[in-house]
Subunit: 151 residues, 4 copies
């Protein structure tokens, strides 16, 4: 049914290593579909903390997920070592759309690919706010060069 | 950014209760985005086991996730009692597309909605196969009446 | 190796229903050992919120886990409906020791049993504090009658 | 209440790196107590697969958890990089008792420590069997030198 073709590593800008865990495998012997999103989530937040100064514990402004999507192209398994590739495609004043690819260590074609929309909000009232400068700068560095995703 | 409007309970055909767990809440105090997919996954498999005779432990034919999507409209929290509404919209020979809505107990508007594509495969070789009759019959019962999703 | 004998339902004071989820099953087809603790955690916090007024979102005093233990006696599986039985055995000024049993719906012998120690702390500085009265009263109601655990 | 004193790195024989994930943090901002066990589980299985030839997908003999325990000494958080130290203390014909310590990268004192008992069973009938030689040899290499845990 889904005829998504796998993207290439080189269409992503940054990579975050994600070793699998025993519990990631479900009854069918593969990493469970829901766990892929926790890889994406981890990769995005790792990047924002490291390069955008995101303070998840006490910052006034946080990113909350408004939409997410994943196409599963090839099963992955514990104990494989995985990597998530990230790029930004859709940066606006208060939100950002990340595109993500999941790769087996040393393979060039994605085992899964998806997207994830963060809306930045005030932590107390959950109302959307402008993306802080430091984060915006970090996000701009993830913007894919023209045609990057035409592999 | 995402301007999805919440669907109504009555546009779904069956409901599965999902009590939340302490661990579902993440650092921001809401059920984490990845956990919504485990609610969908649980609702679908609960239905297939109960009404379609799906044998997850030793059946020859299993359903694997090819694609999934979720729009997050309203935060939910442990210890809320949730319900997942299911309908089928897109049933073909070897795959099915479910549409799902997540509801707080006693509310009529969805807190999140998404879709999920199952491809049925042979458990040994993971090759797509025709959906078994018993499962197909169960899936047909989930097909939304015409216009059901125009609430 | 472990020669723990299963306790009876009647040696627990309160019960919390825990439906299993698809993702709880691991590669071996049983609920994964780590997930049992999330059942215990959920049962304890559900009770404290409901009967002890615990405010997990903004209360000044929270309970943090200092120690936990589980003996696994019989495998459980999704889609079983489970129940956690709770009793208190060890209530002191700043901490409490819960004893927990996991039961299949309608069986009298525990499939797993364990304990869990909560230390109550100030949320900001994580320093131990006296258990608030309202919580203490709720915990006293969980104290097992004499010899309750000699089934 | 629990007066466990933290063990030193050097009382463990092997180490497995465990980067944290966003979802590991719970509402209180720390890695949730149940997640520690998934770190232990991952470390043990990673070692057995790598050094003991454990075939989790189709081997006849698997290790199932009979008992587990954890003492929580110091909170850990995403995005910290953690390591699990392992040693064996209690190797018998059909089962093994691992002792585990969780360490922050570059610290010498454990943030948590626990144990975990594996009983080796026949995958079909779940009856205990003798530990296969290759696994036994790997486990013997984890046995702590005399007094190793008197740090």
């Amino acid at each position: 049914m889904p005829h998504t073709s796998p993207e290439n590593r080189k269409s992503y800008v940054k990579f975050v290593k994600i070793p699998t865990r025993w519990i990631d495998n479900d009854l069918y012997g593969h990493v469970n579909n829901t766990v892929f999103y926790s890889y994406f989530d981890t990769a995005i937040n790792t990047y924002l903390i490291k390069f955008g100064n995101l303070n998840i514990h006490s910052g006034d402004i946080i990113g909350v997920c408004a939409e997410s999507h994943c196409s599963y192209l090839k099963a992955v398994h514990f104990p494989q070592e995985l990597e998530v590739g990230i790029r930004v495609n859709g940066l606006s004043e208060k939100s950002v759309r990340y595109e993500l690819g999941l790769f087996n260590f040393n393979t060039s074609k994605a085992a899964a690919q998806g997207w994830f929309v963060h809306v930045f909000v005030n932590r107390r009232n959950m109302k959307p706010v402008k993306i802080p400068n430091k984060i915006k700068t970090a996000l701009m560095k993830l913007e894919a060069p023209f045609n990057a995703n035409q592999n």
